[in-house]
């Protein structure tokens, strides 16, 4: 009876609503459940699951907080700022506050080392980068068309680019053998495959710096991508939301910089997606940006932005904050230093344990190589290992399969969404885990085979058919994704659905 009723219910809803195109049944979201049932807290829940699946930048919250407290005029609600309350409260112009656009344009220039200028009139607001991607897809493609996307890629793209738009994603396979570079060969291959499936390719979407790899594209590669897309007459969408998360000596090169060096570049095909969620650590404020060199796209995307404008209260705050150039310079500088320090800490720890990671100098995560710990080089094995890591080691990391990685055994591990102590605890748990595995292997008295290819210091040898003795075979139901703030004691997220 209930089943029949549900079936009837599904018929009353659209296919979009009744189906699972939202992508939340992917394993990327499964680990959240384990975390939410038992979230780590240094005092209240020291055995809880540590959230390492959330790409958030929490390292400079103190600087942000200090600025907010010192600048009450940036709020339209305080006595210092309330004289602007009514003007801002009624402001729903989809062009956005001009001071907001100017400040964002300036910030985008700073995060690209002032190598390129951005025109505030090309800045279009959106509901976070999530909203930006969907809007760009609506503008550039019809249902059934496709975008090429290099793998591995952010799982949210399956929802953002495809769900309500009806657009397809065509993977461009990248391999660990060359550091997951995007080759023209792979692009041509994917393009051809799409053609054979009767999918009209409308564009190429790259994330630079990459999520989940943390790598940045060099000048030559970017040029080759611009040339490839120009030659084919398709769009190039560059998601640059991690632009300011480069650390160390590495410099971020934007596609905006590269097109200046390509004569006869068809700029109508070039678009950038940006956001303040990662660089500034402000995902809650929902500041997404589409920057297009195509006038028509700017014009129409702006009309579509009605479906996801940035709250004028937030526009006002951000305009004030990003206009404070001293603060911005200090913030970017400090953020990069802290990210670099955190990255060094975790990679040093992993090196010491013989765990490999992809060389990268950006992002809020690293791409960890656990291929040598797989029973077999299969995604089933990867999932099994992942379950052990979540339930026994109590770390929520994200399995490479959920990022559509071509090869099993890679995991994305976030490191910027926790404090120092939690980071140390996580490393300690990994140390314990690896030493337990070593003990197991020794106990079995079998020869060990070196398979780690990127560890710098101590090399550990693992038998390729090492059995994991943890017999946790608990299966997850499809996860109900709810990305709560990872700060467990926060009263804001205490109530659950």
């Amino acid at each position: 009876m209930a089943l029949a009723a549900e079936k009837q219910d599904r018929n009353l809803l659209s296919k979009i609503a009744a189906g699972d195109g939202h992508g939340e049944n992917s394993s990327y979201f499964d680990g959240w459940k384990a975390y939410e049932e038992n979230p780590f807290h240094p005092i209240h829940r020291p055995d809880g699951v540590i959230q390492m699946g959330l790409a958030e930048n929490q390292l400079c919250g103190d600087l942000m907080r200090k600025w907010i407290l010192e600048h009450p005029e940036a709020s339209i609600c305080t006595s210092e700022g309330v004289n602007q309350f009514s003007d801002i409260a009624i402001f729903q112009d989809y062009h956005g506050l001009s001071e907001f656009r100017q400040a964002v344009a300036k910030f985008m220039e700073k995060t690209r080392n002032n190598k390129v200028k951005f025109d505030p009139n090309r800045i279009v607001m959106s509901g976070g980068a999530t909203g930006a991607h969907e809007t760009v897809a609506f503008c550039l493609a019809n249902p059934g068309d496709g975008f090429l996307v290099p793998t591995p890629y952010y799982p949210g793209f399956d929802r953002d680019l495809r769900w309500r738009t009806g657009v397809n994603l065509v993977p461009v396979t990248c391999h660990s053998s060359d550091g997951f570079k995007i080759t023209v060969e792979a692009l041509e291959d994917a393009y051809e495959k799409a053609r054979e499936s009767n999918i009209s390719v409308k564009g190429l979407l790259i994330t630079n710096p990459s999520n989940p790899l943390g790598t940045t594209l060099d000048r030559e590669c970017l040029k080759s991508l611009v040339n490839f897309t120009n030659d084919k007459g398709i769009h190039l969408i560059a998601d640059e939301i991690y632009a300011a998360t480069t650390f160390g000596q590495s410099k971020f090169i934007s596609v905006a910089e590269v097109i200046e060096e390509i004569p006869n570049c068809d700029r109508d095909l070039i678009h950038i997606v940006y956001s303040l969620s990662k660089d500034m650590g402000l995902p809650g404020l929902r500041v997404g940006i589409i920057y297009s060199y195509n006038d028509r796209v700017v014009h129409i995307a702006r009309k579509m932005s009605s479906f996801g404008l940035v709250s004028s209260q937030t526009q006002h705050l951000i305009a004030k904050m990003l206009s404070d150039e001293d603060f911005v310079d200090e913030f970017i500088r400090e953020s990069k230093l802290r990210l670099a320090a955190r990255h060094t800490e975790i990679t040093t720890g992993l090196d010491g344990l013989g765990i490999g990671w992809l060389k990268a100098k950006a992002g809020l995560f690293l791409w960890m190589d656990l291929r040598n710990l797989l029973k077999t080089a299969t995604f089933d094995s990867e999932t099994e290992l992942w379950r052990v890591i979540v339930h026994k080691v109590k770390l929520n990391v994200s399995p490479g399969g959920s990022f559509h990685c071509h090869e099993p055994g890679w995991f994305r591990v976030c490191f910027a969404n926790m404090d120092q102590k939690t980071m140390e605890t996580a490393l300690e748990r990994i140390r314990v885990f690896t030493s337990q595995l070593e003990e197991e292997s020794l106990n079995r008295n079998k020869p060990m085979v070196a398979t780690t290819i990127m560890a710098k210091k101590k090399k550990k040898c693992w038998q390729s058919s090492l059995r994991l003795s943890f017999n946790d075979t608990r299966r997850f139901e499809d996860g109900f994704f709810s990305p709560h703030s990872p700060v467990p004691p926060s009263p804001l997220v205490r109530a659950q659905t």
């Binding site: 929490q58 509901g127 953002d160 709250s311 209260q313």
Partner: protein, 470 residues
């Protein structure tokens, strides 16, 4: 151009309609009391600017909420990270209670059934994505808010089939109009998925009567389709009548927790009642778990900024504030509406008797050269360019009869309103019709008033109304 989607190359955004063209003219030459006293006065903007002082004084008394603090401690860091698409629990609770208060606490709203959206623009589009396939249709009574052409159809591929309402009965929805619209959809080979009404109505400024609401619920029950009730003006009801929500009707018909109730969805927003359109706070309320679940995931494309959620949850949780605000808001709206209506009357112009909203539905049929939409557009152009008032022509709202205009009254100062009325009166008197009016103004107004009374009488449902003063 073939490199862009058809959504870009077509005019599906609907912004070539005259509704938006008037805005463009206004923006080129906006009225300012000091800087541009001969500019165009904006009367095409349904905004509530009458009660900011109440909110501002609340802010002064509530420094913690105003400066994103809790117990004196900044919680900015937590807000900065809060992106949970379920929304802040205390905010949804406050929204639910506010919605209940507006409905006289006669019905309850469960915060868990609320889905937040970036304004009602986004809420309406999201509901369409959830309930309709491309090519499916929703029936809408005319005249309706021009933005629906974009919000409901543009990116969703859904269609709108009009339910024709006429001035002969005060534009009320009738059974035959509903049936006709349904049949028209079938003729066009469109699958009807539901009916969408705005209650109180934009552009009419009237609340649906109980009779109409009952009719709608019966209709969707028999056809097994959805009903979306866009109630974003529910807090602007200023008449003697109380606002009747579709939720009231479900309760009175004992349809709560039935299959029918799962097909009734309410859209809300704080843009009109609280006058905060810039903050982009919209909501979907649905009794259908699957709709709530899908819409919640879709809200990722347009979440409400956490700093806005925090501020407004504090504001709306203050029950003393909300009850004072609602009462004062209604008083000021009523007084403003009266000012517009009497000013129009002195120019020999009547409007549909309204009891809600931020605008009046004004009858200028007698000022048309001919009873055509071309004449309506001519008149509109004169009013925009010569009289320098941006008002919205009925054709942009898909009205089936030429000569009606929506005129907003809550988005300007009293002085500006008076000036606008003065300009209009001057214009009317300068036309042939105007001269006729001034000669026999008394007779004409008497007969117009009679007509107005009968419109009003028709709209009132005697079972639950207190007759207005006369």
């Amino acid at each position: 151009m073939k490199q862009l989607s058809t959504k870009v190359t077509s005019n599906g955004h609907g912004q070539d309609s005259s509704y938006f063209l008037g805005w463009e003219e206004y923006e080129k030459n906006p009225y300012d009391e000091i800087k541009n006293p001969n500019g165009i006065i904006q009367m095409g903007l349904a905004e509530n600017q009458l009660c900011f002082d109440l909110i501002e004084s609340w802010l002064a008394k509530n420094p913690d909420a105003a400066s994103l603090k809790r117990n004196g401690q900044s919680i900015f860091r937590e807000l900065a990270l809060f992106q949970d698409y379920h929304g802040m629990p205390e905010f949804k609770k406050a929204m639910a209670e506010f919605m209940e208060e507006i409905r006289g606490n006669r019905v309850t709203f469960d915060p868990k059934k609320i889905v937040l959206a970036a304004g009602s623009t986004s809420a309406n589009e999201t509901l369409m994505f959830c309930l309709a396939e491309p090519g499916d249709a929703f029936l809408l009574p005319t005249p309706y808010y021009p933005g629906f052409d974009r919000d409901l159809k543009w990116r969703t591929g859904a269609e709108i089939v009009p339910i024709h309402c006429s001035s002969s009965n005060g534009f009320q929805i009738t059974e035959s109009a509903l049936q006709q619209a349904y049949q028209q959809a079938q003729k066009l080979d469109l699958k009807v998925k539901g009916v969408l009404v705005t209650n109180p109505s934009n552009p009419l400024g009237t609340a649906l009567t109980r009779r109409e609401l009952n009719l709608l619920v019966d209709f969707i029950t028999s056809k097994n389709i959805h009903l979306i009730s866009d109630e974003i003006y529910s807090g602007t009801m200023f008449g003697f009548e109380q606002f009747i929500s579709v939720m009231d009707v479900l309760k009175d018909k004992k349809l709560e927790n039935t299959e029918v109730s799962k097909r009734v969805h309410v859209v809300y927003s704080l843009s009109k009642d609280l006058g905060l359109p810039g903050f982009r706070v919209g909501a979907i309320y649905s009794n259908d778990e699957m709709v709530v679940s899908a819409a919640t995931k879709m809200s990722s494309f347009g979440l409400v900024s956490s700093q806005t959620q925090y501020l407004l949850s504090a504001l709306l949780s203050d029950k003393k504030f909300t009850s004072q605000y609602l009462e004062e808001n209604q008083k000021r709206l009523k007084s403003r509406q009266k000012r517009l209506v009497s000013g129009l009357e002195s120019a020999g112009i009547t409007c549909l008797r309204s009891n809600a909203g931020l605008f009046c539905w004004v009858d200028m049929r007698h000022l048309l050269d001919t009873n055509t939409f071309e004449a309506e557009l001519d008149l509109w152009k004169k009013i925009v360019y010569n009289v320098k008032l941006n008002i919205s022509p009925g054709s942009s709202c898909h009205c089936t009869e030429p000569g009606w205009f929506r005129v907003c009254f809550a988005n300007m100062s009293e002085d500006t309103l008076d000036l606008a009325l003065k300009r209009l009166k001057t214009f009317v008197e300068s036309t042939d019709c105007g001269r006729m009016i001034s000669r026999s103004s008394h007779e004409r107004l008497k007969s117009l008033r009679k007509k107005t009374v009968s419109n009003w009488v028709f709209r009132v449902s005697w079972t639950d109304r207190v007759p207005d003063e006369r």
